[in-house]
């Protein structure tokens, strides 16, 4: 299920349209994830406020989306491009990789809400494959 040239073009084209909203996308996706999948809150016990649109959530949503931006720029070799992030997630953050799927799903839901016309089934499949690739690259250094 690797990214075809068409997938990469689709991802880059969508990113071109949505990147200026990336902060909002990140904040909504992360806030949503904490509500829909409460088990994910276990990774953020050090935050004062886990409610959607709180400062820590908005700030971290931005961080996540800058990771996504990096992934788009390194789409031709996600494993190499996300190596540092993979090490961070593997050795420092130690996020169970099952959660990558959960956050990916939440991002896709936000894209459907914010960009219903652009988020066609063809764009959806390319983005889903992209996030699978990102998740795989992030898991690379785990074991």
């Amino acid at each position: 299920m690797s990214l075809t040239e068409k997938d990469k073009a689709t991802v880059k084209a969508l990113w071109g349209k949505i990147s200026k909203s990336s902060d909002a996308i990140g904040a909504d996706a992360l806030g949503r994830m904490l509500v829909v999948y409460p088990q994910t809150k276990t990774y953020f016990t050090h935050w004062s406020d886990l409610s959607p649109n709180s400062a820590p959530v908005k700030n971290h949503g931005k961080n996540v989306m800058s990771g996504v931006a990096l992934a788009v720029s390194k789409i031709d070799d996600l494993t190499a491009g996300l190596l540092d992030l993979s090490e961070q997630h593997a050795f420092t953050l130690r996020v169970d990789p099952a959660n990558f799927k959960i956050l990916s799903h939440c991002i896709l839901v936000v894209l459907a809400i914010m960009f219903p016309k652009e988020f066609t089934p063809e764009v959806h499949v390319a983005m889903d494959k992209f996030f699978c690739g990102v998740s795989l690259a992030l898991s690379e250094k785990y074991r």
């Binding site: 949503r32 904490l34 509500v35 829909v36 839901v109 809400i113 988020f119 889903d128």
Partner: protein, 147 residues
């Protein structure tokens, strides 16, 4: 038995009362067949599923999408016994249709995306949580009679 809060009950009732079955059903099924193409294995006799355009224009897919969505009505009306409500359908999907139950989750995820697009900002995290909990119970009930 599944415990539902008042918020969850009213949210589910609200979503389904506002849903256009003939739009959402076909949209969810076509999206599933496009995003997860291996699900096409169950629709060999539906005609042309060769590419996204063919799938989106296929009247058999549209009709079946509507059928599936109306099937969810039964759960909406029987939220306190979804398991019992779907026992027969579960047997059908296992014994006759031979559908891998993992596919139910894939369709549920596509339905979530389509409903999110329809409701926009009204599809808050809390609404999404209620909707996904409902679909998770449906998915679990449909997989229950497999052996």
């Amino acid at each position: 038995m599944v415990e539902w809060t008042d918020f969850e009950r009213s949210t589910i009732a609200d979503i389904f009362s506002k849903m256009s079955y003939e739009t959402v059903g076909p949209a969810a099924l076509t999206r599933c067949l496009i995003v997860y193409p291996w699900t096409q294995r169950y629709f060999g006799n539906f005609g042309n599923l060769y590419n996204a355009a063919a799938i989106m224009g296929n009247p058999n897919v549209a009709k079946h999408g509507t059928t599936i969505l109306h099937g969810l009505d039964r759960a909406v009306k029987n939220m306190d016994d979804i398991k019992g409500t779907y026992a027969e359908l579960s047997v059908l999907h296992s014994e006759k249709l031979h559908v891998d139950p993992d596919n139910f989750k894939l369709l549920a995820d596509c339905l979530t995306v389509v409903v999110a697009a329809q409701f926009g900002n009204a599809f808050t995290g809390e609404v999404q949580a209620a909707f996904q909990k409902f679909l998770a119970v449906v998915v679990s009930s449909l997989g229950r009679q497999y052996h």
